[in-house]
């Protein structure tokens, strides 16, 4: 489904600040894979996401999604087939526009069949209402309200809905529950699981919660210094404990996982 082949990316090349974030990075995802990704700060997790989403073009290598070479496809065109969520709930929605208008924008990703001069129809509204009611947050009765009035958790749930409204080929979740309180985070994780399973979306999720990393999905990457140092799935994964994971990390990188947040959770 997703192939990164020998992808390299260096920031600020030729300066004292040069930082090689990815070097000869290769990864293959099967259709329907749900990969959780853990790794210390600066391991290249977000850089990998940015490379896939097209925030920048990589120095070398090839990125393929569903057989299509997207290495040099601009970000806004990739977003038609790639859904993405960030840690910051403010990033995914337009605050001064209403819930309804935000959803209409997300709908644009389906591309075909929309005249740029068409308005939101009643049929669209009906569909938005149905989808919103799936979130179980009562947002379907607040469709005319500006998104800026929603709480962080509500905004993140709405962003999830928007990112998956037109089923993407790939969903990138960058610690999308890290800024939420535990209860809301659970709710958003539940919704994520439901939506991903129901629509059979290939998904990658960065998390700092080790327990979550092993519980959700079917595959886990441990990343360090721009490389996947441990890639586990199937039976081996189901037997893994958090301590195993820490050991694997030490074995793979020769150093302990240096992230307090991760150990505590």
């Amino acid at each position: 489904m997703l192939d990164l082949i020998n992808v390299s990316m260096t920031f600020n090349p030729g300066t004292p600040n040069a930082k090689t974030a990815l070097s000869n990075f290769s990864v293959h995802l099967n259709d329907g894979d749900f990969v959780t990704i853990i790794g210390s700060n600066g391991a290249g997790k977000s850089t990998m996401f940015n490379a896939i989403a097209g925030t920048f073009f990589v120095d070398s290598g090839t990125i393929k999604l569903g057989g299509q070479d997207i290495t040099y496809l601009p970000e806004h065109k990739r977003s038609r087939i790639i859904g993405r969520m960030f840690q910051d709930p403010l990033k995914g929605t337009a605050p001064s526009m209403s819930i309804e208008e935000n959803l209409a924008l997300a709908y644009l990703r389906s591309g075909e069949g929309f005249s740029p001069f068409s308005h939101i129809t009643n049929r669209d509204k009906q569909e938005f209402r149905e989808k919103l009611s799936l979130l179980g947050m009562g947002l379907e009765d607040r469709m005319k309200q500006p998104v800026g009035l929603l709480s962080g958790g509500q905004r993140q749930a709405l962003t999830l809905l928007m990112a998956t409204m037109v089923t993407p080929k790939l969903l990138l979740l960058d610690e999308h529950t890290a800024a939420l309180d535990p209860g809301t985070a659970d709710k958003v994780i539940q919704l994520t699981k439901e939506i991903v399973e129901k629509n059979h979306i290939t998904c990658m999720m960065i998390t700092h919660n080790m327990k979550q990393a092993l519980e959700i999905g079917n595959r886990t990457f441990l990343m360090s210094n721009g490389k996947v140092v441990y890639d586990v799935n199937g039976e081996e994964r189901s037997k893994l404990t958090i301590n195993d994971l820490l050991d694997k990390f030490k074995a793979g990188t020769g150093q302990a996982l240096d992230n307090d947040r991760m150990l505590l959770s």
């Binding site: 995914g92 605050p95 924008l105």
Partner: protein, 315 residues
Amino acid sequence: MLYILKTALELGFLYAMVPIALFISYRVLDIADLTTDGCFVLGAAVSVMMARAGHPILGIPLAMLAGACAGFVTAFLHTKLKVPSILSGIITNTGLYTINLMVMGWSSNQSLLKQSTIFSLLKNGLKNSKAKAFVTLADWYAVILSGIIVVVFALLILAFLGTRLGLSIRATGDNLDMVRASSINPSFTITVGLCIANAMTALSGAMVGQYQKTVDINSGTGIVVIGLACLIIGETIIGRRPFFKGIIAAIIGSIVYRVIYAVVLYTKVLPVEFLKLITAIVVALAIAFPAIRKWFAFQGKKISHANGKGGKDNA
């Protein structure tokens, strides 16, 4: 009094497209577009020159087209060549000075003498009409025509902002990250927005040019600040939310500004030359208002904090 009101309505409607344009660029797209001054003169120049050539009506859409081109240049500099938006506007504005002279046949002003304008056409039409009601309306021809044009374009823009393309443009000014993630090309939406905004500015220039029967190379100076003042006055009166109030605010603000202008002009409480300075101060204060309020709140906090300590430090 009626005369003051009439003048204010006339000028208010004639200039109302400028605050509407600024509503699109400054409020919706969140870009301070300084193309406005030169673009206004460009619209006036094109429309007056067309009227001189005997095509007053055709002059209006052509002026808007010219304005859209000016907006396109600014947008191109900003989106493709990554020039900061304010600088893009200033660069285009500077270039437009020469373009405007060129349009005006390398002369710094041009006048219409006996040639008909859209206003004279309507005035004569009303005067010669058989219905008596129309004849009495003939005195208000400028208010009627500019009012209709402004209302029609305001409605068109409102309808447009509700379309999918319009929503994309609004989102561009609201959350750029989200726009990219929604498969919208922000360069495209900024370009469309700036073209529309500058077409509206040029429309205003085109109407003013034919109404005053003259165009001067410097007639656009300060138009952007006056437009902002109108927008802010209007928003203070009728509010900013929901967003479509902004367009109504632009029109109301423009009329209120011209009422103030007319009152100053006729009562002579101040020399008219002061108006630009006052306008500048009003705009600066209005935009600075949140910062000023914060500063006062902070000072208040400091004072109450000092008092709370019981003056121990000072004693």
